[in-house]
Symmetry: C2
Subunit: 466 residues, 2 copies
């Protein structure tokens, strides 16, 4: 999940308190009855996913995939390998309409990178360069450090920044709030004459673990190299500076921005029996950062979207409308693959019934986050009751997902997975984002939520009101 | 804290339920009254440490020390620097009898080290070589992997081990139980013909964080290189092996065992007013591993022992007996400095009233762990009541501390700090053992516990019964 995708967490769901009757004139009682009629099929999905032959299957799919492919940075050979792997696996599963849709995606490469404090004592820093950062000259940059705790402090001390490496030791408030230092730290530092910027990793918890992520330069502002350092090292330098010690760092980064690469969004379906052109879209993104395995961000979302189709297929459940899984390419650089998908398909927006993405963890599910008008919310509330057997009935606003935002902005109802993800940002964009953080049972539960919601919405007599 | 120090956690305190009268014939009621008479002085210590001028002081001492010196491996220049730093700081504080006592300590150096999975796909491993490990040949060792989850499995599959790198993927049960794989993994692997061993880090939690530590070769068994890998990578290889994949690793370690180095235990006191030759010994160890800052293991124990003396001095509290802080050298290789201290001073064992060490965290204190006869335990129970104002009154058996074990084995009562250290082994012997894991307020509370217990025991009319 990237910075853009988090911003929507800050935008509250605007509930329409003036609920109208369900579109089509059907009485609410009839709708409630229609939805409750899915109890048996929902239970079948849950039984298969959680207790039956498919128990632990989404975890096993994910483990084999990530162990085989590894991490999958936008533009990398690994991402190509991942798409090939998924295309073959979805085809082998006998899903409908498995295909690839071409997109152009950013191609940033990390190269070799290192940083070391030379003064007041020699101390190597664990760093991770940020996506889109330029590299340093081959010999690196040696410069004195200016430690600040905020953009405000940087502005107040602008006269001290010339020729320095700015180190941000911003406190962690929340990802949505604090990520601006990672996104804009380099540009803000460059504006006051800094030669590089190092940003405290955006996390509430660290074991000397640096976090990478995308960052944005500004037009007309010099592009300086930028990387994340660990919480520990940012605090170390803040204490040294507080004691009046001069800090000197040698930073070397071999990062490069290469021409955009060819890639694909990967698509598979259970094609609808009655209105195949009408679609419930479920999704996760296939690309990841180039550290760890991208098992959590967003292998989990990919795995439960794939598994939701498999569950329906295994049970012979073909809803009236199509359930389509899209595994996005290049979410991390800012929803790049998804935007091209939107542009290609937006003329059919009236046929997109619901867009779903899981990109904030596949830990123990509690329900879904939903964005849509009041009447759609009421309907979704009834659907969630079908998940009572696994205690995942919560309906909260608002849905989150960089890759589905354009559709939601266009009025399509959206849903994302609500799960116990309090540790998500401990592992996010680190070497620690591996299958080890995932739990087989929790992933089976997530798969059940994903399958029940997408199937029932796709099979209702009518599309969700918007 | 090293492996030996943990073993005693497994040996329960053998309580003597047949409590005799307090030695010296004094009535129990009189003893209780004597101890409760310290309430005012205990409160003064607490007020100074937690709310007064000394608030946060042990944390600040530790932060400045670890930021300045860094980690302090046995035999390293950093440890020499640390001893010099402490000698100067204790002297400057005006403490009594500040001096250094010479010891000979192990000198193992890590050198450059790396490991990478070559097959089934290229994947670099985060590793930390283990203390006392030999290095590899300069070109490293390339070999196929045998993954096992236990010594039993290794024995069952002994015929597969020849020429392989044994990877232990043992589950974490507890540190005391699981650390045997780190201590003996190389020797056990070598017995069945392995050329190296890689051990899953001994921790319940990881962010791709390898843990180092000491390991022991066996006489007559080939000495093969050995390192810890992360939980994530151990599990990765176990899954690959389970799938029948051949795994090949290239391991390179530049580790060397050099001749023993000269070092010192660092000593400072509040000399007793009435029986200066009788001693309550408080302690932590000054050496650490060569990663992180050794702030937790065992900077915290050092800092609160130093601070306890400072608190007594600031308050003008000079007990009847001496309170002596000893900052041990070379605990991590197995209590090496402390053993030489014991041998040098054991003839005075009858004058050692109580030995205390803090080496399992200086997080929120709950009381102390205590080893001693029933009557001593009763007395200590009364002393702990003085810590009611900070809710640290618990008395649990048994005391822990590699550096004080010899004294306890000789019959001297022993105490260690009981604190909320559930995350201790998350950071233990990793790059993440930095001052970031410490909390100023919690350290102030620990300092108060340390000062109150040592002062009161040192000032009672009589020594603790043994």
């Amino acid at each position: 999940m990237d910075v853009l995708s988090l911003l929507c967490l800050l935008i509250g769901f605007s509930s329409n308190s003036c609920a109208s009757d369900h579109a089509g004139g059907k009485s609410w009682e009839a709708t409630v009855e229609e939805i409750s009629g899915y109890a048996e099929e929902a239970q079948k999905i849950i039984d298969l996913a959680v207790y039956g032959d498919a128990r632990n299957r989404s975890y096993e799919k994910l483990a084999k995939f990530t162990d085989t492919v590894g991490h999958r940075l936008s533009g990398s050979r690994n991402l190509e390998h991942a798409i090939e792997y998924m295309y073959n696996a979805l085809t082998k599963d006998g899903l409908d309409n498995v295909h690839l849709e071409p997109v152009k995606i950013p191609h940033w490469v990390r190269g070799k990178e290192s940083a070391v404090i030379l003064r007041p004592r020699n101390h190597p820093l664990a760093i991770l360069g940020l996506g889109s950062s330029v590299g340093t000259p081959r010999e690196g940059i040696k410069a004195e450090v200016l430690v600040v705790k905020s953009f405000d402090e940087l502005k107040q001390r602008a006269s001290e920044a010339e020729g320095r490496i700015v180190v941000y030791n911003q406190p962690f408030v929340s990802y949505g709030e604090t990520v601006k230092y990672r996104s804009s730290g380099a540009a803000e530092a460059a504006k006051v004459g800094a030669v590089a910027s190092l940003i405290r990793s955006v996390t509430p918890f660290s074991i000397n673990s640096p976090h990478t992520g995308w960052q944005d330069y500004e037009e007309g502002v010099p592009r300086i190299p930028t990387a994340c350092i660990t919480v520990e090292d940012a605090q170390l330098m803040a204490r040294m500076a507080e004691r009046g010690q001069k800090i000197v760092i040698h930073l070397t980064m071999g990062a490069q921005n290469l021409p955009d690469a060819d890639s694909f969004n990967t698509v598979a379906e259970i094609t609808g029996s009655k209105y195949p052109e009408q679609v419930v879209l479920i999704s996760g993104h296939l690309d990841s950062w180039d550290v760890g395995q991208g098992a959590m961000d967003d292998g989990g979302g990919v795995a439960i979207s794939w598994e939701a189709l498999s569950l329906l297929k295994d049970l012979g459940l073909r809803p009236k409308r199509t359930v389509r899984a899209v595994l996005w390419s290049a979410e991390e650089p800012g929803g790049v693959g998804a935007l091209q998908y939107y542009q290609r398909h937006k003329e059919n927006i009236s046929n997109i019934n619901l867009v779903m993405e899981s990109d904030l963890g596949t830990f123990r599910p509690r329900g879904i986050q939903f964005s849509g008008k009041a009447q759609a919310q009421k309907i979704m509330g009834e659907v969630m009751k079908l998940l009572k057997p696994i205690n995942a009935t919560k309906l909260e606003g608002s849905a989150e997902g960089t890759d589905i935002q354009m559709w939601m902005d266009g009025g399509v109802p959206g849903a994302s997975l609500l799960n116990d993800n309090s540790k998500y940002f401990w592992f996010h964009h680190t070497h620690g984002d591996t299958i080890t953080v995932q739990d087989p049972e929790e992933m089976s539960l997530c798969s059940a939520v994903w399958a029940v919601v997408s199937y029932v919405i796709a099979d209702l007599e009518e599309m969700l009101p918007r």
